[in-house]
């Protein structure tokens, strides 16, 4: 595409971005590394070729962008309630992705390693639960929006509550 869109929110401790351009994890690592940190955990979600018997040709991600950024920041705040010095960076890609591409990169820097692992894990689990981003899988014989076939769950509160789960 001619112009690649990028939206982001940046605070003194957090950086959250959505972009159509490929994700470079190193700026995220640099954002969360500070002299007071002893540990950085990075999680990369990549486009896997095979899911069971099905071969993915490519994916398309879309987002409710403004809400996705706000929700990522709220998830970052959950991490900081557990680990107040944590620094957090999350970039999610939108648009078309090929096999092997990085769909999401998460970096969490903390003084001690347990918090970095837990923070990074918390963020990916919460993304999969509550951040308004959707993935359409394209195969040789068709395509579908992941989630359309999921078992039915109802959300009387509108969505998962921020306090549902502590990091």
């Amino acid at each position: 595409m001619a112009t690649e869109r990028k939206m982001e929110r940046k605070t003194d401790w957090g950086w959250f971005a959505l972009s159509e351009a490929p994700i470079d994890p190193m700026p995220l690592v640099q954002f969360v590394t500070r002299p007071e940190m002893g540990a950085v955990n990075v999680f990369l979600g990549t486009v896997r070729e095979w899911t069971g018997e099905r071969q993915t040709l490519y994916l398309v991600y879309e987002a409710y962008e403004a809400m996705a950024l706000l929700t990522l920041e709220a998830i970052g705040e959950e991490v900081r309630r557990r680990s107040p010095k944590a620094r957090v960076a999350v970039h999610h890609r939108l648009g078309r992705l090929e096999v092997g591409d990085v769909a999401v990169a998460i970096a969490v820097g903390t003084p001690h390693r347990a918090d970095a692992f837990e923070g990074s894990r918390h963020i990916i689990e919460r993304i999969k639960e509550m951040v308004p981003i959707w993935k359409k899988e394209h195969w040789a014989d068709g395509s579908y929006w992941v989630g359309d076939q999921l078992e039915r769950v109802s959300y009387p509160a509108g969505g998962p509550a921020p306090a549902d789960r502590k990091p």
């Binding site: 403004a66 989630g147 769950v153 509108g158 969505g159």
Partner: protein, 81 residues
Amino acid sequence: METVRILLFAGLGEKVGRQMEWPWRAGLTIEGLIEEMGERHPEVRAYAPTLMTAVNAVYRPRSWELRAGDEVALIPPVSGG
């Protein structure tokens, strides 16, 4: 006529349209809006049990009362990450 703006996403957005205006009246809740929409768009009724719902980019329960001009998002199961 006062309205709310509805945003739809993923499979639901593809089938019904990604964005629409809908008439607002005092006392209209998210639940009421989804019921009204379901009469015109059967897909909304089919998706309704799985939808999360947000008003002005914050998750809100079905009982939430809308105000004119609100942005209401119907959020199918998310699949980012």
